[in-house]
Amino acid sequence: MTPSLRRIGAMVLRHLYILRGSWPRVLEMAYWPAVNMVVWGFTSQFFMQHSTWVAQAAGVLIGAVILWDVMFRGNLGVSLSFMEEMWSRNLGHLSVSPLRPHELVAAMLTMSLIRTMIGVVPAAVLAIPLYGFSIFDLGLPLVAFWANLMMTGWAIGLGVSALVLRFGLGAESLAWVMVFAVAPLACIYYPVSALPAWLQTVAWALPPAHVFEGMRAVMFGDGLDPALLVGAFALNGLYILGTAALFLRTHHVARERGLLLTQGE
């Protein structure tokens, strides 16, 4: 194992120790996506009988809520992992260790993936016996949808982490605010065409709109337009590069302003 991978592994281990030491945290991670899925499952069943649009594709709302949680948990996985270091006033020690900022970012992304799997997979599995809906039936496109939504979550999480590093823990609520700010334009439960024309342009600039549009196309049997995936991956690449650069730049500014030792609760 290279020294860099070992340091990333050490940071992942640090967060796994926290999870291992607190089963309520692990339970909570799985709890909210499951509750969300159950609520939308019943809503979906109701609409199946009263909406021709929903009736055309059983599980379109449940699928949407499960995939939305991928993005939501992906964001929280990054931002909470970073804020954990600030809450525990551990940034000072980490910053004088051989851990590089980009290795810290890599560890945060890895933890985000782990936390998202813990949160979302049980809800996805639970939907099968409860509503006879398996998101895994989406097949290969599911991998692309999941990857894209994770990447959007990472981009938001890195942006939030940068702002928290710059402005302190007073900005921690941004972890929730930012992702919900994206939600209306992500077109999770409705097609992009439902938005006013001028907002549609904004929505298409966001990768989740491409993903949810693609998910509906597959579920309605229209097949997946590869352009949607290409667009989503391209936009995600831009956003991830931009927010990773913002995080690394903010880390540099924190070294100029002496924030690495003073941040904390």
Binding site: M11, R14, V96, S97, R257, L261
Partner: protein, 255 residues
């Protein structure tokens, strides 16, 4: 055959740090010899923590240079960080992790070959074996200090920076900690730079003292030398002379 000269442990030249209009460190220059124990002294706001932060690369200087173990800390800090460590009672380790978990994480971050073995050795030396499975947040102040020390010694650092290493410790534990550092230095030849407000501690442990005030190094020398020059009985009296702008006793007598 000529050997390349071994650079000093720390070499600071004309170091300056400004936070907006506030000058926290104002053109400081000093050298710390390898294997020495040096104290950075000064009142609150003198610039000690800012200087230590720049030595560690946590803070970027406005101007001037910092070389640690021969490496420039702005350009090449990652070359030297595996050979340096730091301990401060004001920078905690994650409280929810156990002692062993904290040390394991940092052992891997520092690339220690046998992490478990090193933790066993340090736990034994620092009397932490009984607490390895205890959450760090449930340790007493003395135990937390020993944990911080264990973390700082994981990589057997060539240079150890200590920020008030015995603050908030009872006299017995503080004495034990000082003895441990003295022994560590003798055993390994490591260099130690410490910031402290405990003048007895500095007199006992340090070969050299840097007195800071208002961001500048205003005096320096061996503790006994400073005491002689100021005509005082203790280093604490010298500290008070400097802090309160009193002149040296000899100069006062001459006037």
């Amino acid at each position: 055959m000529d050997h390349p000269a071994i650079p000093p442990a720390i070499q600071v030249d004309d170091l300056r740090k400004c936070f907006g209009p506030v000058v926290a460190v104002d053109g400081v220059s000093f050298t710390v010899a390898r294997g020495s124990v040096t104290a950075l002294l000064g009142g609150n706001g003198a610039g000690k923590t800012t200087t230590i932060s720049m030595l560690l690369g946590l803070l970027l200087p406005t101007s001037g240079t910092v070389r640690v173990l021969g490496e420039d800390m702005v350009a090449h800090r990652y070359r030297v960080l595996p050979r340096v460590n730091f301990s401060s009672p004001y920078v905690e380790l994650p409280l929810r992790l156990t002692v062993a978990e904290n040390l394991t994480v940092y052992g891997h971050l520092y690339g220690i070959p046998d992490v478990k073995g090193r933790i066993r050795t340090l736990a034994d030396e620092l009397e932490l074996t009984a607490y390895l499975d205890r959450a760090s947040g449930r340790l007493s102040a003395g135990q937390k200090t020993r944990l911080g020390l264990a973390k700082a010694l994981l990589n057997q650092p060539e240079l150890l920076l200590l920020d008030e290493p015995t603050a908030s410790l009872d006299p017995d534990t503080a004495d034990w900690v000082r003895g441990y550092f003295e022994n560590y230095r003798r055993r390994t030849g490591a260099t130690i730079l410490l910031a402290s407000h405990n003048m007895q501690e500095v007199e006992r442990m340090c070969d050299h003292v840097l007195m800071m005030k208002a961001g500048k190094v205003v005096d320096r020398g061996a503790p006994s030398d400073l005491i002689d020059r100021y005509g005082r009985a203790t280093l604490e009296e010298v500290f008070l002379d400097i802090a309160r702008d009193r002149r040296r006793a000899g100069e006062e007598a001459a006037q």
